[in-house]
């Protein structure tokens, strides 16, 4: 898949199945798409050097590790 296909497919995943084939893709992909929101968070903290892991097992959105799960506990 090209990067554009990946970009669109990853955002389409979070839509309900009825919207899978939108007539107008501009309206289907909104800036509050869950993938976009999560990606902005991930990219921000990953750029600052944190290791970002999913925190669903602790009832939070994300866990931040200083160097990695092997070295430190999450913060």
């Amino acid at each position: 898949m090209t990067q554009r296909e990946v970009w669109e497919a990853f955002q389409m995943v979070h839509l309900s199945p009825h919207l899978q084939a939108p007539s107008d893709p501009v309206h289907a992909l909104r800036p509050d798409n869950p993938f976009l929101v999560n990606y902005v968070f991930f990219h921000h903290y990953r750029s600052l050097g944190w290791v970002v892991k999913n925190g669903v097992k602790f009832c939070v959105d994300y866990l931040l590790y200083k160097r990695g799960p092997v070295f430190h506990h999450a913060e």
Partner: protein
């Protein structure tokens, strides 16, 4: 065709680097060298040093914070000359991993063992689908297969360290957790039994009319500091033989794949450009084409 050949060259170079990297971090060789340097090391010393040794190993294994790394050129003079003209000889080593997008689980599957190890060790991306975090299912299965006694099976992925003349299995994090839970459970059972015994004794003493000093009753109840795990082998039930046979069959192939979340996969694809994502439909159709082609030729 040009991109294909360049990616092939890149991947072969990366594989060579990866194997060299494995040789460097091989715990057997490094530890046997250490043991030959310090043959008269006492047991207490080494058990204290075990933590720092583990940390050093982790520092080597997880040295790279991201999957892409930079090649360093040894010749300082050439670097200086090129630097004058504003040219950097450093090149980006790109591991070129591959993954398959799966819409139903909202994840990207990395089935290649080499790719998943690179992505985990350099930046802790992804999660094994049969493990807690690091894809360690195969190592756990081979540990189970080796049994509590640690029989000397030569398996490709089992990590064995040479310590004090005996082979010690390196436990995965899941096994460490399970062992600690078993020990805590046993500790609580022992403590409850001791408390019940002390209470019964106190009741009997009260009925007879004499008084037990508090220190004496306290001393018999184990606390977290004083309790020692007795021989843990008595709790270990050897798995049935058919289970062992199944495990042996399964050990032949790795049942586990690594799951990247979509966010991680997009970061690797877009920001670092080291992951190629295929759609599950196209992969299936490609496999079908291959199988049809092979059946036509046979």
């Amino acid at each position: 065709m040009a991109t294909l050949s360049s990616s092939v060259i890149g991947s072969s170079r990366e594989t060579a680097m990866f194997t060299r990297y494995l040789v460097v971090t091989d715990p057997c060789t490094s530890h046997s060298q250490m043991a030959s340097v310090h043959p008269s090391q006492s047991r207490e010393d080494s058990s204290q040093k075990k933590g720092s040794r583990k940390r050093n190993e982790n520092n080597i294994i997880y040295a790279n914070p991201l999957p892409v790394s930079f090649s360093l050129i040894e010749n300082r003079f050439a670097v200086t000359i090129l630097g004058i003209f504003g040219v950097s000889p450093t090149r980006v080593l790109n591991p070129r991993c591959e993954g398959t997008f799966d819409p139903t689980t909202r994840s990207v599957w990395v089935t290649n063992r080499r790719d998943s190890m690179i992505l985990w060790r350099r930046g802790f991306f992804g999660k094994g689908n049969l493990s807690r975090s690091e894809p360690s299912w195969l190592a756990r299965q081979s540990n189970v297969r080796a049994g509590p006694g640690g029989r000397k099976h030569q398996l490709c992925l089992r990590v064995v360290t040479w310590t004090h003349g005996i082979f010690i299995l390196d436990l995965t994090s899941e096994e460490v957790t399970a062992k600690r839970r078993v020990e805590r459970k046993q500790f609580k059972l022992d403590r409850a039994r001791a408390i019940a015994a002390a209470a019964a004794e106190a009741e009997a003493a009260f009925a007879e009319g004499r008084i037990i000093p508090a220190e004496e009753s306290k001393a018999s109840i184990p606390s977290a500091a004083t309790w020692k795990s007795s021989n843990s082998n008595r709790n270990v039930v050897p798995p049935p033989s058919d289970y062992l046979q199944d495990a042996a069959d399964l050990c032949a192939q790795d049942m586990e794949h690594m799951q990247l979340t979509l966010v991680e996969a997009f970061f690797l694809t877009w920001a670092l450009d080291c992951l190629t994502i295929y759609h599950s439909k196209t992969v299936r159709s490609r496999h079908m084409c291959v199988s049809i082609g092979s059946s036509m030729f046979t």
